[in-house]
Amino acid sequence: MKVQIGNESIMYNEIKEAGCTLFRSQGFEETSVADLVQKIHIREQDFYIYFRSIDELLEVVWSES
């Protein structure tokens, strides 16, 4: 069972960071949720706890970085 501390949980930030890295290195179009979860060793369903889609992740990463 995972401990979730609002939006600022460790996993949330980890996903954002990985998203940022992947989008930059291989481009947004080439990045899938599968790539991302593989990179940071989490389960795909964990990704969807924080983000509805890869699009939503891009929106967040893009606005904040």
């Binding site: 930059r24 606005s63 970085s65």
Partner: protein
């Protein structure tokens, strides 16, 4: 969605234009990638391809606003005949109080509202670095005509533009009417001493201050 192939530069400036409108109408913070995407009918990835962050996009918007304003002034300057001082007067008087300037002001106001101080300063800096060469050219001409004396026309232009722009920015200095008026009254003399210009040659500036 029909895929329209556009030249990268064209696409980029389209994104910048739309973003500029959105930042002004919705505010920078509430503008999302989705908004930009909807207005242009392009994919998110496309926007990301050109601007890897929202801040980068804002930077481009700022650059384009400053560049547009500089081009407008340059055109104005190219069409004025006369001595350096006459051309300077024309540049300053007709350079302000125009539609493009209003739009520029609107963006500045917006930058104040969103307490986007860093961005605001960057726009001011950009405007100065882009416009200073225009002024420097006139200062150089003035030196040739023997009316000005300066060994550093560009730096002089940067110094004066930064000083005046920064000091008269009510978003940075919340002056009262009287306080700002005092500054405007002092500027002509300060400029004259910077440029070694004859006393009273920049009195025309008082006209702009009362017009404000």
């Amino acid at each position: 969605m029909v895929r329209v192939v556009k030249k990268p530069e064209e696409r980029k400036s389209e994104i910048i234009d739309v973003a500029c409108q959105l930042f002004l109408s919705k505010g920078y913070d509430s503008t999302t990638m989705k908004d930009v995407m909807r207005h242009l009918g392009i994919a998110k990835g496309t926007i990301y391809h050109y601007f890897s962050s929202k801040e980068e996009l804002l930077e481009a918007v700022i650059d384009s606003v400053a560049e547009g304003e500089m081009m407008r002034l340059k055109e104005l300057l190219d069409n004025i005949e006369g001595t350096a001082l006459e051309r300077l007067e024309h540049l300053i008087l007709s350079g302000s109080n125009q539609d493009a300037d209003d739009e520029h002001k609107e963006l500045l106001d917006h930058l104040h509202q969103t307490s986007n101080a860093g961005m605001h300063i960057r726009l001011l800096a950009k405007v100065v670095t882009k416009q200073a060469p225009l002024y420097a050219e006139l200062f150089r001409l003035g030196c040739k005509e023997g009316i000005f004396t300066t060994d550093h026309p560009l730096e002089c232009a940067e110094f004066l533009l930064s000083g005046i722009q920064f000091l008269t920015d009510m978003g940075i200095y919340p002056w009262t009417e009287d306080q700002i008026e005092r500054r405007w009254i002092a500027f002509p003399k300060l400029i004259e001493s910077q440029l070694g210009a004859p006393a009273g040659s920049f009195s025309f500036l008082l006209k702009t201050s009362s017009a404000r």
